[in-house]
């Protein structure tokens, strides 16, 4: 088991290196443009060589590339991303991230819960009633729901629930993980990956149902519930877990929009402010943090897969 963990960690090292290099390169490219535009802005539309140099030094562009990369990684590991030169008040980027990340994480977990509670049972039902009208209805309506972009679904859901049904699920702002207001944003956030999880669960269960050991269990006369819980679900869930891990990326993307629409002061809205302001430092920092989250989640899912399925551990 330890060897498997070691193997997985070794496998993601080139990925982490490449991803950080990627973010770094793009960030540096943007930084030199940023220095130029800041100079022009501060100087009332003119280019001033001295000020340009100052900005470049401030952004660390005077040093050779590899040294810059090293400093970037060092600082990132310590959580220091510098101060944003674009946003009003020059806030410390790491402070912005630290303040908002927990909120987004809670929203993400809430969305995952909604996702699992809805998509997995529906997937199982669809698999058991395969090719029937119920199956087609479930799959088609879920596909339709997921095709609606999150920035469309959010205001529509808001309007429908609040204005039409007048239900007390306002959803504006953030009131904590356990408040009623979290349900709507979490549900909207979960809508995008939902059809993927549904299809994956459905296919996985169909696969398992056709296995010989299920037929043997039925032949032995085991009760249906016993078969479902003991054999089908356990074996069908492992691929679904991987898919859930992959969905985290889509949740991160979706959180950008959900947080704006619902006014939730989270990680996504920090990123959006940075995108709109052209603040490359914050953009690079937030992208790096989100990539770390995604890679970590994928690693954990891989490890869990190893725990649940011995075939993966012992090499294929």
């Amino acid at each position: 088991m330890l060897r498997y963990i070691f193997q997985r960690i070794l496998a993601i090292i080139p990925l982490v290196l490449f991803v950080t290099a990627f973010v770094f390169i793009l960030g540096q490219y943007g930084a030199s443009d940023l220095a130029l535009s800041l100079t022009i802005q501060a100087n009332g539309g003119d280019f001033d060589a001295e000020m340009y140099e100052t900005f470049r030094n401030e952004l660390g562009l005077d040093q050779p590339v590899l040294i810059r990369y090293q400093k970037f990684i060092e600082n990132a590991l310590q959580g220091d991303f510098g101060r944003s030169l674009v946003l009003p008040g020059s806030p410390e980027i790491s402070a912005m991230i630290v303040n908002t990340l927990p909120i987004s994480l809670q929203l993400g977990v809430a969305a995952l819960i909604v996702l699992v509670l809805i998509a997995v049972p529906l997937g199982v039902v669809a698999a058991f009633t395969r090719n029937s009208l119920i199956d087609q209805f479930i799959v088609t309506s879920m596909t339709f729901l997921s095709a609606i972009p999150p920035f469309v679904l959010a205001p529509l859901a808001l309007w429908f629930i609040v204005a039409e049904l007048r239900a007390p699920l306002i959803g504006f702002g953030w009131h904590g993980f356990f408040s009623l207001d979290t349900i709507l944003p979490a549900a909207v956030l979960a809508a995008a990956p939902m059809s993927g999880v549904l299809r994956f669960t459905r296919n996985s269960v169909i696969d398992v149902l056709s296995q010989d050991y299920v037929m043997a269990a039925r032949a032995r006369g085991l009760q249906k519930q016993h078969i479902i819980i003991g054999y089908v679900l356990k074996n069908a869930m492992t691929p679904v877990l991987t898919w859930l891990g992959i969905s985290v990326g889509r949740l991160l993307s979706g959180s950008i929009f959900v947080e704006i629409v619902f006014g939730i002061p989270g990680f996504g809205s920090v990123a959006v402010t940075a995108f709109q302001a052209g603040d490359i430092q914050t953009v690079a920092a937030t992208t790096l943090v989100s990539m770390v989250i995604i890679i970590t989640v994928n690693l954990i899912v891989d490890l869990m897969y190893g725990i649940f399925d011995p075939r993966v551990r012992l090499g294929s």
Partner: protein, 325 residues
């Protein structure tokens, strides 16, 4: 010795026997017609393409025409989708935005098709260190959440592209380079192509790798066909099937990404038309005028969905698979 009579076949039998097409495309077309969602999707796609070409002529009002006597009207006969806060007809604006969406979708897909195929085929055929590096790059891109990466790259790409248009204007003197819409389109094409080529590259690489081992390629090499001949005459046509499926499903993603970027304010901005932009504007009055969000939103969702349906049906049609038990 008995006389053996040769029974001539009738014309009806001859027609019947030669009726069924036997090529891959013929079989696929027939299979495609069986899928109801696929046909529905195809119908909408054709309709949307028609709108994209003729938007300027069939739109009842001008994109920016303001009618101050008809502010914030709900859908009606004169304004099938209602009007916005300054009296612009939403239906016309949606039609023109569809033009943008399709233009972006098609051009980006073409770029992605070319780049993805070239890179994927190169990785598979050259192999070695080149292959490893290309895989690393593709993996790195694929691990990023798409929209996030698109937004990141568009922030980075905008200044250089704006410099490019400025220098193009200086060197050619054409007024068009001054137009911000051109800048917006340039940024969007670059960003979306950059973000979307990796899945196709990976697909093509996988396909070429598996095709390389097949016997007919070995046979081609045995009779002395040049590598170019094999690549263009055998490898590429066999990759076309999955490639088309991937591209048609991908168009939906591209249009979604474009409207997402425009929604955030870093994609196609006014005076350019985009569904994402319309939704962003409509968001401000979601409570009182939900039609301003619902109309462009549902149109976008339907278009994306149609492309997904077509792609799914193409997938089922082009891949002969063992039916599920």
């Amino acid at each position: 010795m008995t006389q053996q009579t040769i029974t001539p076949i009738t014309t009806e039998e001859f027609d019947f026997m030669s009726e069924t097409p036997r090529s891959l495309w013929g079989d696929a077309a027939r299979e495609f017609r069986r899928s109801r969602t696929g046909m529905l999707g195809l119908f909408i796609v054709i309709l949307v393409l028609f709108i994209a070409i003729t938007a300027q002529w069939i739109a009842p009002y001008d994109y920016a025409a303001q009618d101050w006597l008809a502010l914030r009207q709900p859908p009606s006969v004169e304004h099938p989708m209602g009007t916005d806060a300054v009296g612009r007809d939403l239906f016309s604006r949606v039609l023109v935005s569809i033009q943008t969406a399709i233009l972006v979708g098609i051009i980006v897909s073409v770029i992605v098709g070319i780049v993805g195929t070239l890179v994927g085929a190169t990785a598979a055929l050259v192999g070695g260190i080149v292959d490893t590096v290309i895989i690393w790059v593709m993996d790195a891109i694929l691990n990023f959440p798409t929209l996030w990466l698109a937004a990141f790259v568009s922030v980075v790409a905008r200044p250089p592209i704006s410099q490019l248009t400025r220098s193009l204007y200086e060197s050619t003197g054409w007024e068009i380079w001054q137009n911000t819409i051109v800048l917006d389109y340039g940024v969007v094409f670059t960003v979306l192509a950059f973000v979307s080529w990796a899945p196709l590259g990976r697909l093509v690489r996988g396909q070429v790798l598996s095709l390389r081992e097949k016997e007919f390629i070995e046979a081609q090499m045995a009779i002395g066909a040049s590598r170019w001949w094999i690549t263009t005459r055998h490898l590429i046509p066999n990759v076309m099937g999955p490639m088309i499926v991937q591209l048609s499903i991908g168009i939906g993603g591209v249009m979604l990404a474009e409207s997402a970027l425009s929604f955030l304010g870093i994609g196609i901005q006014p005076p350019g038309a985009s569904l994402g932009n319309l939704i962003a504007i409509g968001m401000e009055s979601w409570r009182s005028d939900p039609h301003l969000v619902a109309m462009p939103g549902m149109v976008l969702a339907f278009i994306i969905l149609s492309f997904v349906f077509v792609g799914d049906a193409l997938n089922d049609a082009l891949n002969p698979r063992i039916r599920e038990r």
